[in-house]
Amino acid sequence: MLLKCPKCGVKNYLDPYPFWNFKGKTKCAGCDTFYAVEIATGSPMRAPRPINGTPKDPDLLLPGFADTPDNKPVMGEGKTRPAPRARADVYGKPKPIVRNSRGRLVAGRPLTPADLVGSRARYVVEGKEPK
């Protein structure tokens, strides 16, 4: 369910699996307003209403993600639920990698035509780490 906060306009995404059938609180990632939410098979049973709450409440479930009206992400600890992560430092962008987990060369970063030998990365072919 999409919860658009009337106070700050932030769009809170109450993602389908945890929130499909849900009765409890959630919290706007933009202005930290707590909302009482009741959802059955994906549809709100009543409009979310502001309510008192604390971050420690057992019936509090944070949104999976939130963004501003112009689509800037609003995230962070205590704002949205963490993503399933493969490492501590996941950040969702192509990660330039030159050395793999055992320290050897691997062609894991963008190249320019000058970086190529035929179809291969020059630095891998030559065995020298690029500048």
């Binding site: 389908p16 549809s43 490492r87 990698i97 987990s101």
Partner: protein
């Protein structure tokens, strides 16, 4: 509240299969223009399984002795070969393979009895006993092993799954049998391997291999969604490993005929079958130490490509690349314009790979469910298929069994077996113009073919049968 039963229904109130007859050819193609009808009808005439018995079999010169017991991987491998035409002789210990006794939740009433002896057999075992001959042989006795040595000279393939080195110690391993029959293809199957540090670790049935290969850690809802590692409902690692074993066996036969004239030693394990096909897990780990997390019914590497809840169950929608992405949102936008507008306005979602991070998947699927929540599986599918978007509901077993497309293609078919009567089975997916797989019989009771096989291959006399029977050898 009582817990729901994991087996639902029962014959009461449920019509016998099929609840509705399969569609006729006219219903399927009748409304199509000649041009649109031509290719599917050509294909149908080319590969329809009803014509399988007019056609040759790919492996019908091959004889396979499957000595695997108590484990599904070997049975799976040999039933793949049996469907493609090989004569497979399933060797069981006297009394039968312990897997014959398996039945869901111990419910004996769900076992089938054959018409001749009334001997109960579990459906799980029976489903992989197709096209095979059943003989018994006690390999723990020396006399039994002597019989096996004779059989090994008469066959092309032997499959076994004894403890690592057991057959070698018994002097019926690859090293010994290949001397008796240099053309023999010998395949050992197991969960983790017959050599290497884990070779003696016990455990012979799935999900042992699922746990040891990284499969279970990656399946199920992520911890962040309240989920835990989850095994496959099926013994899936045995199926994958068994298929790999069958592939190796046919490859070895090709090499034998074409080049060497000799057989060879093959090893296939359930865990390594899964490891081979575990997507990008290893390369990703090698790049930067990533450990693949669970991602529930979503996909780490494609968006949209997921199963989400809908009005009457769970619905799959898939379309990662741009053309389908916009068609999906157009379909959604017809009913929930706000959802489509949100997606179109977000520049972060314009590029195919930039849609992949978790936060963007959350946004995608939350908005998609604004539409799905008011659509049943059938409604959603109808609307999306109009746009050529791959989509469909999660189907329960009775829906699979009754799905018209499957019934029309005989994917699910009732087989009238001489011994077990009418049995609903999943047919082999290997259709072909000339060498299709096929089903000849569903299965056999314990030792049903002893007489035929031992006489034909080893010239056993009445006296031999008496003696070996008394000694508990067969």
């Amino acid at each position: 509240m009582a817990n729901p039963e994991p087996l639902k229904g029962g014959r009461r109130g449920r019509p016998p299969w099929p609840a509705s007859p399969p569609p006729t050819s006219d219903e399927v193609y009748g409304n199509l223009a000649e041009q649109a009808r031509e290719y599917p009808k050509f294909l149908e005439s080319l590969v329809h399984p009803d014509k399988a018995f007019n056609k040759p079999e790919a492996l019908d010169r091959i004889r396979v002795l499957d000595c695997s017991t108590g484990m599904a991987i070997g049975h799976w491998a040999s039933s793949m070969l049996a469907e493609l035409g090989a004569e497979v002789i399933q060797v069981e210990p006297p009394g039968g393979d312990p897997l014959r006794q398996l039945t869901p939740f111990g419910r004996k009433e769900y076992m089938l009895k054959d018409a001749q002896r009334g001997e109960p057999v579990g459906l799980h075992f029976l489903h992989e006993m197709r096209n095979k001959l059943a003989i018994t042989l006690n390999l723990e006795k020396k006399e039994g092993r002597d019989v096996l040595k004779k059989l090994a000279t008469q066959v092309d393939v032997v499959i076994e799954n004894a403890s690592p080195g057991q057959w070698d110690k018994w002097r019926i391993g690859y090293r010994q049998l290949s001397k008796l029959n240099p053309r023999l293809v010998y395949c050992w199957v197991g969960q983790r391997g017959q050599w290497g540090p884990l070779k003696d670790k016990p455990g012979m049935r799935d999900p042992v291999a699922q746990c040891a290969s990284g499969f279970v850690h990656g399946t199920g809802d992520p911890k962040e969604f309240g989920g835990r590692p989850t095994r496959s409902g099926m013994w899936v690692a045995d199926h994958v490993g068994g298929t790999a074993a069958a592939m190796g066996i046919v490859a070895a036969l090709i090499h034998r005929e074409r080049t060497s004239g000799k057989g060879q030693f093959i090893e296939a394990t359930a865990a390594e079958g899964i490891i081979r096909i575990l997507d990008y897990d290893w390369v990703w780990h090698g790049m930067d130490g990533s450990i693949r997390p669970r991602y529930g019914n979503w996909d780490l590497a494609i968006n949209i490509y997921a199963v989400n809840p809908c009005k009457d169950g769970y619905m799959m929608v898939g379309g990662g690349h741009d053309r389908l992405w916009y068609r999906i949102w157009k379909t959604v936008g017809d009913e929930v314009p706000q959802a489509e507008e949100e997606i179109i306005a977000d520049t972060n979602l314009r590029n195919i790979s930039e849609r992949l991070p978790h936060t963007r998947q959350v946004k995608t699927y939350t908005l998609l469910c604004e539409w799905l929540k008011d659509n049943t599986r059938a409604e959603a599918e109808r609307k999306l298929v109009r746009q050529e978007v791959a989509s469909g509901g999660v189907m329960a077993i009775h829906e699979v069994a009754e799905y018209p497309h499957f019934k029309y293609r005989k994917q699910v078919a009732e087989f009238d077996d001489q011994l077990y009567g009418k049995v609903l089975v999943a047919s082999s997916p290997n259709l072909a113009e000339k060498v299709p797989a096929r089903l000849k019989w569903v299965g056999r009771p314990v030792g049903y073919d002893n007489d035929e096989v031992y006489r034909r291959l080893l010239g056993f006399t009445r006296g031999d049968f008496d003696r070996l029977g008394r000694q508990g050898v067969i």
